[in-house]
Symmetry: D2
Subunit: 349 residues, 4 copies
């Protein structure tokens, strides 16, 4: 049961029907969970923006770096050109090269890409090395291809799944979370969807209720690598410059959960618009796209903040206690206690 | 009476004795309020990092731009060289040139600066044009020199004072606010002090309680220029790179109050360390300063987030209802109602 | 007589008819030279992108910072929003506030701007404090308004004029320079125009001939503030992202003259497209502009490099020996010797 | 025979004894050339900054992005933390993941790294897909480990070697090039060494002589991916902020050869100081390093510009005509003609 089903409402804008990144039309998510023996707790989560050949029909995109202690691959080309040319795949820190290699395979093999000799694979990660035998690098290229193959629209699994299988957040079991917001028609009617891989520290707050403090979980003192990967999709017609601004707002949503972007955190936001594509090849010298004016982006900003905050909380509610590498155990968020406190605070509606 | 005196505790770290930016040893604040007739509602707030000649003894410094729809002056030199060479002065948008000119006067006249031919004045602003006849540009150079002259340590006035005289925040009367955090000795014992000039939109939350929503104040829909200037001082020995990271955390504090950094907002953070200075001239070719390692900055990050959040809330509690230009009136935050809601939410201790 | 008239050809693309920034249709330049008594050697150079109200019809724009030891005002809003809302005015370092104040006056007074309460004045500068009594701040608001008023299309005066009156470049007298390039029709037929205010160091090279070395002028050792302001206008339809890339290429042009962007240099490039405007107010929520694709910008990059290199050389050829503040004298480039060396090197055609 | 041996002197500062990146004490270079059959023309070039365990003794470092159409991996962590924790390895575009994976292997296996669970591999690339069957991804992890193993001080092979085996520059055969500059004792006596992998376009100039124009090689019109990887090492004690400034100057050196950083170019500079290291673990909370003041970096800037320019020219002189994938042939620079033109221009001393 997700937080919203308990009556927890974060923010003022309504979610889309699935309250998931897949509320953005055309977006698909595929996840492969790799959980074997006592020590392997990792996986892959793939987000595919649209149904066409992503390399040939590039999406306007931007990346915001909240805290850059991370190994996300693909940053500079997105920054320079404003376009995304592969799906986005999340995994663990030391498996980034394997995943990138698989994304290159995937791209080179796609019909229409026979002449492609340059691929900017976009791969994000967080470090699941507390629960997972990360040094073993157990993600294979096939896992990635499977995730891409299985990607679908509809509800998205949350918690200990895909790239969130072995992650830890605020001292509790983290994982994958997702949420969305749909603007009213008067503000354009656009949808903003967010998917997060939560693995970061701070002192947890839910709707401002100091959960971490009440539970004595002050997860900002140690030097563990944390991290949060955030992916923001929208059908609003934004260009790369305004997508970068939108991406930054997801980082503000992280702040609202009590995250502090500690020194060891790799906090990255990838923002993509599905409203139009930029063709790899065309006879025209021009792009002629209708994009939102600066003056009309603020409500999207709010949507990104709210959906990110909720996606993070969703990941915590969905995750289960896990024991992994070296016998390490991370407990799940004590949901009953949390609900009780939220009720006392008037945050259950 | 400040929020903390009512029992409102934001975050987990304790404030310094004054709960003000002046808890950082040596920091002084001077404010001149310009309130005349029916239409003039503006002023100047100056922050002086140390008692020495600021140009000759530059402070390590950095500036983070949350949303850059603003006119802060002095950015690029601080970014390039990592140093601050004048006090920081806040004012209204259209008075930045006047204030900069006054800061140049101030610097050129200081004993020891007779040969100075280049001054990077640091001036921040927000737009008080709803309550103030901003087009009249009523700030004079003398106002600035007075603020610098009167700057002192000790408690800092908050609310409708100095550069906060005519500002509006979340649809309520905003103004100047300040707060601080003092790390425990085990984390270095450092102080982080914050001063804000609040003039921005969003939907107000205090300790997560959705005040804006309860009061029907959704201040993100219109296209008014908002803005928040944040100044962070610390006695922790940080270099410019880590000061920039610290500055970014103040922006996370803003997020926790419900701010969204809307399109029209100029959200800037200036972060300065008082732990050491970089001399303008010296025979040595080297800087030999003891600075905190990356691994030891996370608790300072948390302090900056908390102090910024509290400084913003403090500005709202301190501000009073004001009528100004064109008869515009902005109501103060209804503190009694707010306290009641916070009490119900268990956020009064 | 300009270098090209002597047969010096820098680069491979042809200039426009005037070989000036005013080859870009609609662009006007106005300059006021302030030369009084023995010590005042300064001025103002204004560039106006188009004939309409610049605030109401904002130009797509970007700023690249080569080396940020400078006081350019207006950076962050251009970076955030991608638009220019005032003319660009150049002056000396300590007169930036006065010029900004005048630009605000100019903007507030323009018909149609009666409700404007926020103006992002764009002011660039270099430090003419060796020849000019810069501490006296002799530029007045009227000088600025005069420059704006007198701005015109057609040939642009170079050398000791306007903001270049008192500048020094490579140890020789610098000043204002301008140049342009016109792409062949097969590459779009666009014009790129550049105007520079040259005040920087290094070891001068012209068409690769080591002039500075031959003349024993090694202008990189001392700690004087240098700087180069570069303004790039084009009628190519570029958005802000590609304008920023174009701006960066002007900095490459500076490199080709032997400039090194020394520590004390403030090297800024402002790039603006005149191909379309972004209205301040409109009923539409959308921008629908036809802009050049990434794939089609490289020849514009080359044009910006070449025009900047030539504009810098033009400034040196046009400048005359000057004596100013404290009896300081800066000699003009010994053009005869230079021509002789270039001839020997086969660089005169 | 290298250009300098012919009497070509670029710039005014003297090179170190080897005129190579290995003039910086302790720096080692290892290269593996992969040339098989008719279509495989690629390789690996590794640069190791110091003899200690690079992960445990991180080097101060920075990365400057000239034009970001490239796949360099490792950017954001260097930017955030200011440190390099692996050797730098260059290869072809589609082999970046393989190389990164090998660098992770290398790091995890090093004695002392048994607990390491996070590695920021730094891998640069250019696209050799015209001469090399790049889609075949023929670089293996063993190639990378071999390059690291074989790395040594002393002279560095240039031209068709290592990561430069299959590259193309200005329409001629490019490759690996290296150069250095040694400052006089009065300016600190520091060495700056540069290594480049040249694969970019523009119109070639050598010492300002328009070689590309004379040979009709206008390599800026097509849409091929170009790129230039530049690695700058120095024994000057610079912190990350000033290393970033130094890195930017290498890009200025590229400009002097006629490079234009075209749309399709991935031009990256990695700058590293060998003067001190930042330990991965230590009991102290502080870094106490003696670093050069801002005022003393300008002559290093000049050194980086000159060494980069010369390294690029060196790569062209050393490279040989090559035939590769699909029968494509790229001719070497016609050195005799070039020398003749340079002689006529007085550029042979």
């Amino acid at each position: 049961k997700r937080p919203r089903a308990y009556g927890i409402h974060l923010g003022v804008l309504p979610p889309g029907p699935l309250n998931a990144i897949t509320d953005v039309p055309g977006v698909r998510v595929g996840q492969v969970t790799i959980q074997e023996g006592k020590a392997i707790r990792t996986g892959v989560t793939a987000i595919i923006p649209h149904a066409k050949n992503q390399f040939q029909q590039k999406s306007p995109a931007a990346i915001y770096i909240g805290n850059g202690f991370g190994k996300l691959m693909g940053y500079s080309q997105v920054e320079e050109l404003g376009t995304l040319e592969t799906p986005i795949v999340l995994t663990n820190t030391l498996s980034v090269p394997t995943v990138a290699d698989a994304l290159i395979d995937y791209t080179l093999r796609q019909p229409g890409n026979e002449q492609v000799r340059s691929v900017n694979a976009l791969v994000g990660e967080t470090n699941d090395g507390f629960l997972n035998d990360i040094r073993g690098r157990h993600v294979t290229k096939q896992h990635v291809l499977d995730a891409l193959e299985q990607a679908q629209s509809g509800p998205v699994r949350e918690g200990n799944v895909g790239a969130g299988t072995g992650t830890v957040c605020f001292g509790f079991k983290g994982g994958i979370g997702t949420s969305s917001r749909k603007l009213p028609a008067s503000l354009g009617g656009y949808t903003v969807g967010v998917l997060v891989q939560t693995n970061f520290g701070g002192v947890l707050q839910i709707a401002g209720v100091p959960i971490g403090e009440k539970l004595g979980q002050y997860a900002y003192r140690d030097k563990l690598d944390g991290s949060c990967m955030m992916v923001v999709l929208t059908d609003a017609p934004l260009d790369a410059r305004n997508l970068k601004r939108l991406a930054k707002r997801a980082f503000m949503g992280l702040a609202k959960t009590g995250g502090i972007a500690s020194n060891g955190s790799g906090d990255y936001v990838v923002a993509v618009s599905t409203a139009y594509q930029l063709p790899h090849e065309t006879r025209s010298s021009f792009d002629e796209n209708k994009v939102l004016r600066n003056d009309d982006v603020s409500s999207l900003f709010m949507a990104a903040i709210e959906a990110t905050e909720e996606a993070i909380v969703n990941s915590l509610f969905a995750a289960d206690t896990m024991t992994g590498d070296q016998g390490h155990t991370v407990e799940k968020l004590p949901v009953d206690k949390v609900l009780n406190w939220l009720k006392q605070a008037g945050q259950i509606r």
